[in-house]
């Protein structure tokens, strides 16, 4: 292994074996998945058993069945059997006292005025969950809707249900033929957000690593063996690889959680067709037919991931070399604050622009931002899922790579002087002076 290889390996290895890294990388997604599972479980367990008394004072959706000696709904299918919800019907109101002493947990009260104002009174002792309330609302609405359809249109309910239509706008770019622009820009935003976090977090790692070597006085021994620029490059590549390792681990974990979650949903039978509630679907088909996430299968993932990787490498070199130069110029982290600000400004600006670019991915802000090397790694990723011209991508990438090269050269000059300076306050004037040293 070359000297550079040894430096890269040390930077990578000493970080990925740290407990904080392992916990952060492996446990956090598991914790997030666990949290989501816990919320889902709590949500499920919250579906406490409810007996709801429907008081149809005017008898508009119920009738007295003498043979059953009970009041029954005219539309039994409007009140489907649910494990957590059972209905009883009456046309006589209960007093509050009688309700409290009864076996019912809630009662819905309405008269024929409901046909005009669409309102019913929901009375309960203990606040039911939103899910229970939504179920009751849905069921009563269905029953009233059926009544209206029958009375006003003389149309049977099944026919009405069949004819009822909800239109979704399916968007398509005339050039790329891609659809769901908003969903795609969200994918781009997630990528760019991740890019921002990775560059910032691991760029700071580079700076801290340099300050550690400088303050621990190790640096003089190392640069008596390797060139300062090799040390800086080794550090940037090694720490960059830590970021890549984390992304790979998170991707793998995310994929596993996605698959396991999908399989669990399949087994639970919760994945039904949007148009036919009785048709159970497998997870992939369910996603593909979903109007909100179906576009996930239309995104060109290899292009997206490949491009993100190129932008990450070039963008990380660009910013991390700056952070390394700053680290070399100071004796302790607190001294780096005022030098950090100008280095971080373009990155922060890119992040702020990303939010606006997501809403209008083809606007001037996003387009110009995706050409400027300092903001391109973040903004181009927002535009990319929506389709960009090949020359735009090449132009933007070359700009970032060239700028990264220039930044590395400039930073290396500052680094090789700064890394050996002790107790000298580095001003911007001083940094510019170091650029001229041999």
């Amino acid at each position: 292994m070359s000297r550079l290889g040894h430096i890269i390996y040390r930077e990578w290895h000493t970080r990925v074996r740290r407990k904080a890294f392992i916990l952060g990388t492996l446990l956090v997604p598991i914790l997030i998945a666990g949290l989501v599972g816990l919320v889902a479980w709590l949500d499920q367990s919250e579906m406490e058993y409810h007996r709801v008394l429907v008081i149809d004072e005017s008898g508009i959706i119920t009738f007295q069945n003498d043979s059953a000696n009970a009041r029954l709904p005219r539309c039994p299918r409007c009140f489907p059997q649910r494990e957590h919800l059972v209905y009883r019907f009456t046309n006589e109101a209960l007093s509050d006292q009688a309700f409290l002493q009864s076996e019912y947990t809630a009662m819905v009260f309405f008269d024929d005025g409901i046909l005009q104002h669409n309102k019913a009174k929901f009375i309960f002792d203990k606040t039911p969950s939103l899910r229970t309330k939504a179920s009751v609302e849905s069921d009563i609405s269905a029953a009233i809707e059926r009544l209206k359809v029958q009375e006003e249109l003389e149309l049977d309910f099944q026919t009405y249900q069949r004819l009822k239509t909800k239109i979704n706008l399916v968007d398509e770019d005339v050039v790329t033929k891609d659809g769901n622009a908003f969903g795609r820009s969200i994918i781009g935003f997630v990528f760019s957000l991740f890019m921002f976090i990775q560059i910032l977090v691991y760029g700071m790692h580079v700076m801290r690593g340099v300050i550690e070597e400088k303050s621990n006085r190790i640096v003089e021994i190392i640069i008596s063996v390797v060139r300062p620029v090799e040390l800086m490059a080794g550090k940037i590549i090694g720490i960059g690889l830590v970021g890549v390792t984390q992304v790979l681990a998170l991707t793998l974990l995310g994929f596993l959680i996605f698959q396991i979650g999908g399989l669990s949903l399949e087994w639970s039978g919760a994945l039904t067709s949007g148009t036919n509630a009785e048709l159970e679907l497998d997870f992939k088909t369910w996603i593909a037919q979903s109007s909100s996430v179906g576009f996930l299968f239309d995104v060109n993932w290899p292009l997206m991931i490949g491009t993100a990787l190129v932008y990450f490498i070039a963008g990380f070199f660009m910013y991390a070399s700056l952070f390394a130069a700053i680290g070399s110029a100071v004796d302790q982290e607190s001294d780096a604050q005022y030098l950090m600000l100008p280095a971080m400004l373009p990155l922060l600006a890119a992040y702020l622009m990303a939010g606006m670019a997501m809403e209008n991915p083809e606007g001037d802000l996003a387009v110009i931002g995706s050409y400027i090397p300092f903001t391109a790694p973040i903004l181009m990723l927002i535009r990319l899922p929506l389709g960009v011209q090949w020359w735009e991508l090449v132009f933007s990438m070359l700009g970032v790579i060239l700028t990264a090269y220039v930044m590395v050269r400039i930073s290396a000059k500052v680094f090789q002087t700064g890394i050996l300076m002790q107790g000298k306050k580095a001003t911007f004037k001083e940094l510019f002076r170091w650029l001229r040293y041999r």
Binding site: M1, R3, H6, R217, E220, I223, S224, V225, P228, Q422
Partner: protein, 316 residues
């Protein structure tokens, strides 16, 4: 054919801003000895040592290493223990030692076997698997010393190698340095402010001050050359009788009771230039019972101070 010099430094210059860190400095370091690089703080020693390690380059002048212009390809043949030295706190001792040895171009297996021997030699072998943060300062110093010699360099640059050691460990490291010299494979360039070590270990020295070379030569020759006619005598009898006896024949610089021999006194005298010492001794012994007479040779401390301040402090 004569052996090439280990180092030949010719007329080098280095400027930082408007200040000269080194100005037309030149001297040679012969092979297989210990060469002392001396000078007060800010003299330019560290800048010069960094040049020898390829950390910085001279603005002018040249440096030859065993007859060749010094280049980066020579760096694996150089060992360096800087004055400001440290270790990675979050790494284990052995892992870190292997890392530095591999950076010096050694194979892992070879590095491991040599490190094992050095760790045993300097009694740090029980610390191989410990984190550096658990290691004492002296122990860390020994590990740093090992890292500078592990690759058996032709030129070993030691910048204050004994600072921070207790007397026992300092003596142990001093012995190792002298053994390396005796072995003859390594030329040692020693930068230190400890003049005792210079007298004990160095064959030759160069003294820098404010970026200029102010003194260069073999240690015994420099000490001999710095003699100024002083002699130290011990005698039996009274101070008064001694003072009267020498009269105006010598300048009495100091006189005191000899703590090692009862009834004797020790005096420092300076004889006028061109005095025949043998004749003067013959003359003085007629009136004073001299028990010893030694020509006084200044130590490196006095030579250092004189060279830097252009005067020798008065000795007791």
């Amino acid at each position: 054919m004569t052996e090439p010099l280990a180092l030949e430094i010719s007329n080098i210059q280095k400027k930082f801003g408007s200040e000269f860190a080194l100005d037309r400095v030149g001297f040679s370091v012969p092979q297989q000895g210990i060469f002392g690089l001396l000078g007060p703080n800010g003299a330019g020693k560290t800048t010069l040592l960094r040049m020898l390690n390829g950390i910085t380059a001279p603005d002018r002048g040249k440096i030859s290493f065993y007859g060749e212009p010094l280049g980066r390809h020579h760096l694996p043949s150089i060992g360096y223990l800087p004055e400001e030295r440290g270790l990675y706190k979050s790494m284990r001792v052995g892992e870190q030692a292997l890392y530095f040895a591999q950076l010096r171009g050694m194979e892992k297996s070879e590095a491991r076997s040599r490190l094992k021997k050095w760790f045993e030699r300097l009694e740090v072998d029980g610390w191989w698997n410990k984190e550096v943060s658990e290691v004492s300062k002296g122990m860390a110093q020994k590990i740093q010393f090992i890292l500078s010699v592990i690759h058996e360099p032709r030129l070993l640059i030691l910048d204050e190698p004994l600072s921070g050691f207790d007397p026992i460990n300092a003596q142990r490291v001093r012995e190792v340095i002298l053994e390396l010299k005796e072995k003859g494979d390594t030329t040692i360039l020693l930068s230190t402010h400890d003049m005792g070590s210079v007298e004990e270990m160095c064959d030759e020295v160069a003294l820098l001050n404010k970026g200029h070379l102010v003194l260069n030569g073999k240690v015994p020759a420099l000490r001999e050359a710095a003699r100024d006619g002083r002699i130290e005598v011990t005698f039996r009898g009274t101070v008064m009788a001694f003072t009267v006896a020498i009269g105006a024949s010598a300048e009495l610089l100091s006189i005191q009771e000899d703590s090692t021999h009862a009834g004797e006194h020790r005096a420092m005298l300076r004889l006028p230039e061109k005095t025949d010492v043998a004749e003067w001794l013959h003359w003085i012994t007629g009136s004073v019972a001299l028990t010893s007479c030694t020509p006084w040779r200044p130590g490196m401390r006095e030579i250092f101070i004189h060279a830097v301040e252009q005067k020798i402090t008065e000795m007791p």
